[in-house]
């Protein structure tokens, strides 16, 4: 059993427990000479008992104030999984259906479908660390890497709100990468980029991103939600549209291939395909991962207070039992002249 305390510095006060041996809490009754008091064994025991009670009460209250507990360790365990950052596109088109319309009736928008499928995905990977970032015009840090699934689910739940109409993938990727630790080769980093449109990345920024990827070594999964009628990732450009501006998705795909990290692209045109893609990702990202688990701890504060209670009651009883030498008012004193 390992005892521990929330505020160990409070224990500095523990020497106060000797106070009952130095000072008396009782009302002082002056007496001419203590030598006239008969020796009394019971009084000596009461004296000792009250001092010990005072000492216990002080010590236990200080102990209780320090917030003691036992157990409650962090345990490092090895499981399978990865550190995974979900980088979600929040641009306005994500609120449309795969057909490129505003959802009506039972139709599901791209964002809602993604949300639903990601929730399942998260639920299947209990030991992963998830982070969530979103981007439209500017990147938003939604949730740093954490093992609290509730928080991750809540962050994903909030991801289908309407966003702005611009897609700034480069800065989103930068933010996603910045969530990882650069100096941990034992960790496996994954970025799951969910977007329904490409964007042109400035060549200058391209180099910066490449350097960042080299530094953080993150696998990149690009889940492209293709809207009906738009250009796909894998479509070869025709001769007159061979520019990033004309086919941003394709050129993005080509750029990602040159990053030098494991890169997989999935193109989904319906919720079913999204599910298939996510299932593949789930299967691919199985690496040993060190995760920490909180063992529940037992709070002993209540016990300390409870144990301090009987000595306190004893002291209270002693205080209430204090006697006082009663001084008679002058009028009631026997007048010895009359008596004599």
């Amino acid at each position: 059993m390992i005892l521990n305390a929330d505020h160990p510095w409070v224990l500095v006060l523990l020497p106060l427990a000797v106070l009952p041996w130095l000072r008396s809490p009782h009302r002082r009754t002056a007496i001419g000479s203590i030598a006239v008091v008969p020796a009394d064994r019971l009084s000596a025991w009461v004296r000792l008992g009250l001092r010990i009670a005072g000492m216990l009460a002080i010590a236990l209250i200080i102990l209780a104030l320090s917030g003691p507990y036992h157990g409650g360790r962090l345990v490092s365990r090895i499981g399978t999984g990865a550190q995974l950052v979900l980088l979600l596109d929040r641009s306005g088109s994500m609120s449309d259906t795969f057909a490129g319309r505003t959802p009506e009736g039972a139709e599901e928008s791209k964002a809602s479908a993604t949300k639903r499928l990601l929730r399942d995905f998260i639920g299947r990977r209990p030991h992963d660390l998830f982070g969530v970032a979103a981007f439209s015009t500017a990147p938003m840090l939604v949730l740093p890497l954490t093992d609290h699934q509730d928080a991750v689910l809540a962050a994903v739940n909030a991801s289908d709100r309407r966003g702005l109409n611009f897609t700034n993938i480069a800065r989103g990727l930068g933010m996603a990468l910045s969530m990882f630790a650069a100096d941990r080769p034992d960790e496996h980093h994954v970025i799951l980029l969910v977007s329904d449109g490409g964007a042109v990345i400035d060549p200058h920024v391209q180099d910066q991103l490449r350097a960042l990827f080299a530094r953080y070594r993150a696998d990149l999964y690009f889940l492209f939600l293709r809207t009906a009628g738009s250009k796909g990732l894998f479509d070869e450009p025709g001769p007159d549209e061979n520019t990033p501006q004309a086919m941003p998705e394709h050129f993005l795909h080509r750029y990602f291939q040159t990053l030098g990290v494991p890169y997989h692209a999935f193109q989904a045109e319906s919720p079913g395909q999204v599910e298939e893609a996510i299932r593949q990702i789930d299967a691919l990202e199985r690496y040993p991962i060190t995760y920490t688990e909180h063992l529940p701890r037992r709070d002993l504060t209540g016990w300390a207070y409870a144990l301090a209670c009987p000595p306190l009651l004893l002291l209270l009883a002693a205080k209430l039992m204090e006697a006082r030498v009663r001084v008679r008012p002058a009028a009631t004193r026997p007048d010895r002249r009359v008596a004599a």
Binding site: R28, P38, S43, M321
Partner: protein
């Protein structure tokens, strides 16, 4: 007019100064003692005409009278802090009141009054040589104000003997007598020449008025030592029995050296005190 304390020294007073107490001194004033021939006591003022006329050998007879003399009265006061006790009355105030009354009573009948205060040493700041001055009572009151009681111990009482050298004096030993009996015996021995009157200042809260039940955290006025006592009827009985035994031992000890103690409890009644002196 406040009452006086009436005291009578034991035995004949040896002093030469005329005063109020019977003495061995033969003189021209006082009560009749005997008739002696004029040659033996040539005091022409006291020639007894009747005795001279009746004398078969025609010897001139002179009346000799018992001269009344004065005595020095000293109050030897224990200035230890235990007399700061405050119960039904403040003991220190009682002592001051008593000594002032003694000083007044003594000087009124022509005796001289002196004061010696002692704690662990003889306290020269509280020493007043015997004087017949009428205002001495006021001085005594000033000297015995309650702030004087600060010392611990009463060994200074042993140093008082040299200050009391000479003729037999009347010494009121005023204390609460919460002293070791051994020390008291030595004090009595050192003062054995004198007429010692122990005056015990007591308070009923130290004995009969103690609570029957409860916790008392007692603090010694001299040493400051604390002791928690769980009072209950059995302990109170034992306490009172021990106290009574101690008082008996005190009476026996004092009796061996002259007088039994006079006890002042809670209040000072001068008539009562005078009666106690006569009984002592």
């Amino acid at each position: 007019m406040t009452a006086d304390i009436h005291y009578r020294p034991r035995g004949a007073v040896t002093g030469l100064r005329v005063g109020a107490h019977p003495s061995r001194q033969v003189g021209g004033m006082g009560t009749f003692r005997d008739l002696v021939p004029f040659a033996a006591h040539p005091d022409a003022r006291r020639i007894d005409v009747r005795a001279t006329a009746l004398d078969p050998f025609d010897t001139t007879m002179v009346r000799r009278l018992r001269q009344r003399a004065s005595i020095d009265v000293y109050a030897l006061v224990d200035l230890s802090a235990s007399l700061r006790y405050q119960g039904n009355a403040a003991k220190a105030a009682l002592v001051g009141e008593l000594c002032a009354a003694l000083a007044r009573s003594a000087t009124r009948i022509g005796d001289r009054f002196g004061l010696i205060g002692c704690d662990a040493i003889l306290r020269l700041d509280c020493f007043l040589p015997a004087t017949a001055r009428r205002g001495v009572a006021a001085d005594v009151e000033m000297l015995l104000e309650p702030s004087r009681w600060v010392g611990a111990g009463a060994e200074g009482l042993l140093e008082a003997a040299p200050y009391l050298a000479g003729a037999r004096k009347m010494v009121f030993l005023v204390s609460d007598f919460l002293l070791p009996l051994d020390l008291l015996r030595r004090v009595f021995e050192s003062l054995a020449l004198h007429d010692i009157v122990p005056v015990i200042i007591r308070d009923s809260t130290e004995g009969a008025d103690l609570p029957e039940w409860g916790l008392l955290d007692l603090a010694d006025l001299e040493s400051g030592a604390r002791r928690l006592v769980f009072m209950r009827p059995a302990l109170k009985r034992r306490w009172l029995a021990e106290d009574a035994a101690r008082q008996t031992a005190l009476r026996q000890l004092a009796g061996q050296y002259g007088r039994t103690p006079v006890v002042v409890t809670d209040r000072l009644d001068l008539d009562d005190f005078s009666r106690g002196l006569l009984e002592a």
